[in-house]
Symmetry: C2
Subunit: 379 residues, 2 copies
């Protein structure tokens, strides 16, 4: 490992006695992040309905921004001119930017993939957007990202093995070019993460891991999971991959997930997560408790004076009943999605705090069992 | 004036040396309200996008709820069962409820007016809703309102004098029935306000005033202004009516208005206001400053790093630039309407605070001139 890559950006400070879980500290230009960490998603420079002060108040210290969406609107040049994404959205803590690779997956029908990169049609005005590894890194640097992700292809499921092999290898070549582009420009403490692909095929995951490790990135991400595969396959690939990742680097499971997904991945040794679930479900009246997930639109809540979760100390639960939230959603009042999103973000941060305590106190498996119980029996 | 109506619910504590303006204190079951006061509108039990904690933090101590909408959804019986509107929406300060009279005006094409009351078709499911003075008072009492408004008809403009006369007299008979219904049930410090109608016809305003005064209500409201009439007519009727209202009672100009409307009415002697302007305009990217009104969607704000108003200390202005808000509105992010509504509500509360100081310090006319300057020259 070369000296320049041996920056001590990540430190494991505690290991779980029973599982692969660990607690760590990740140093970024915008502060030291405790791991395991969950990152709310601010696709277009805003975590939907929630202010930056609220995110900070909830305890979040790292959020995710989206290269593709911010490139389209308002554009990375404008954000750069305005002082970067942190200042733009009034957020003084960490920002990780995805690279656009997930859009290669989710906007598959309007993309064209070549060795050079990907051509999209803008969903805003139809104009052609070319995204290459070099361009994706440049955009992320212009945004002012603390953690720059390699440009890759999130491989769909199901896919033929031949396609997965080809895409995994191309993704690696893109990751290599991303790494080169990043190192050519950055010497200021910002981090670069490589992404492991390989679809649902263990030996292709192995091949991808070996190659990405060779680039000595600051962190290692697992991409291409939670893309529609059966849950057992998700677990198998996670169990196969996570423990093989260099334990001295932070491990990031992209786009995941539910509370159960998160704790299972922590047990497998993963440190970082991002997902739209808390805000997307919240906007649609679905909220989490430690006993069950509720749909607040359901008529059984119309006279329920309990808060969403009696054990929760968030301002939604301190001030408002399920009956009131039910009314807000039924009446189409915008305060409903806001209060529900806020609660879900509070719940996910509580989950992370409990997971960290569970690692320290050696009761992570019983916490996981409790969460499994919620999800399987009472949903 | 009978002893029972001589409750000292309102006290004028200071009079402007140059104008008809005054400062006062209005005692309600949920606290003493300083006047002049502006009441944000929570039509469906929520001031759109804004939490009750935020309203309180901005300095608001009285808000308005809507009888017609809350009757339709979730229903006053449910709200009563759940502990009343204050508890339902987590608001511990004053609530004034309109009576549904404004809906007689705004939903005119789906109503049928008789001596008994008004029949509406519900806009939700088409079912027939009968609203009478007695029913409107009962609904407001079930909601737990601090200030119950008489049921009346907000007369449209333009209208034939014969119609205005007929409607004004019917409105008075309804007000009388409302008063009777209120007094038959209430002996707990809640207040009843009568409403002056009379359209744009001074002698009918006089007739209405004389009649409503005879009922000795706790407060006197001016209804049927700001319904589409020319601004000069609005000013003439206001100047004709306000000074004739019993000065020992609070005077409330319903549904008004812009900052200029408000200060002009304060100068004419009005104490209380409500309007959807701060939130409705905010939702559509229109925001107030002390120099001009801005449309944040305008391209000239796309790289403007200033806050909405450099002199404003609200959290929107402390944290976010016009450029960011411009982006949020362009991108359809729900945080945009929320931050803009919050700023406008902060601006209106600032306006009220400045008006109160202007009354005390004797510079209300120069404040009015400054506001007139904004509105006429720079809009």
């Amino acid at each position: 490992m070369s000296e320049s890559n041996c920056r001590h950006v990540f430190e494991v400070i505690e290991r779980c006695s029973e599982t692969g879980a660990r607690r760590g500290r990740l140093t970024t230009p915008h502060g030291v992040i405790d791991t395991p960490v969950f990152m709310p998603v601010g696709t277009q420079g805003s975590v939907k309905t929630i202010s930056s002060e609220e995110l900070e108040g909830l305890g979040y210290r790292m959020i995710l921004g989206n290269t593709y969406h911010l490139h389209l609107r308002p554009g990375e040049q404008r954000i750069r001119k305005l002082g970067g994404l942190h200042r733009f959205m009034n957020w003084s803590h960490g920002i990780l930017t995805d690279s656009g690779g997930f859009q290669v997956f989710s906007l598959r029908d309007i993309t064209r993939i070549t060795e050079e990169g990907v051509a999209f049609r803008s969903y805003l005005d139809g104009r052609k957007i070319d995204l290459t590894p070099e361009r994706a890194v440049e955009i992320q640097l212009d945004l002012g990202s603390d953690i720059v992700m390699a440009f890759d292809e999130c491989i769909p499921y199901p896919a033929e093995e031949s396609y997965v092999r080809e895409a995994t290898r191309r993704s690696f070549r893109w990751t290599e070019r991303s790494s080169k582009a990043f190192r050519a420009q950055v010497d200021d403490g910002r981090l670069f993460f490589g992404i492991i692909q390989g679809g649902m095929i263990p030996h292709l995951r192995d091949e991808s891991m070996a190659a990405v490790h060779g680039l000595e990135p600051d962190g290692l991400a697992i991409g291409g999971l939670s893309v529609g595969e059966p849950k057992s396959m998700f677990r198998d690939i996670l169990a196969h991959t996570a423990p093989q990742l260099d334990p001295s680097r932070p491990r990031y499971l992209m786009g995941v997930g539910t509370p159960l997904d998160i704790i299972e991945a922590v047990i497998a040794g993963v440190d970082m997560f991002d997902c739209v679930i808390p805000t997307r479900l919240g906007r649609h009246a679905h909220v989490y408790t430690w006993e069950r997930k509720l749909n607040l639109v359901n008529a059984r809540f119309k006279e329920d004076l309990n808060p969403i979760d009696v054990t929760c100390r968030c301002s939604t639960c301190e001030g408002y009943s399920r009956a009131y939230l039910h009314h807000l959603f039924r009446a189409g009042e915008p305060l409903g999605p806001r209060l529900a999103s806020y609660h879900n973000l509070s719940h996910f941060q509580d989950l992370i705090v409990r997971i960290r305590a569970g690692i320290s106190e050696g009761n992570l498996l019983s916490l996981a069992a409790a969460i499994r119980n919620v999800t399987l029996e009472k949903l």
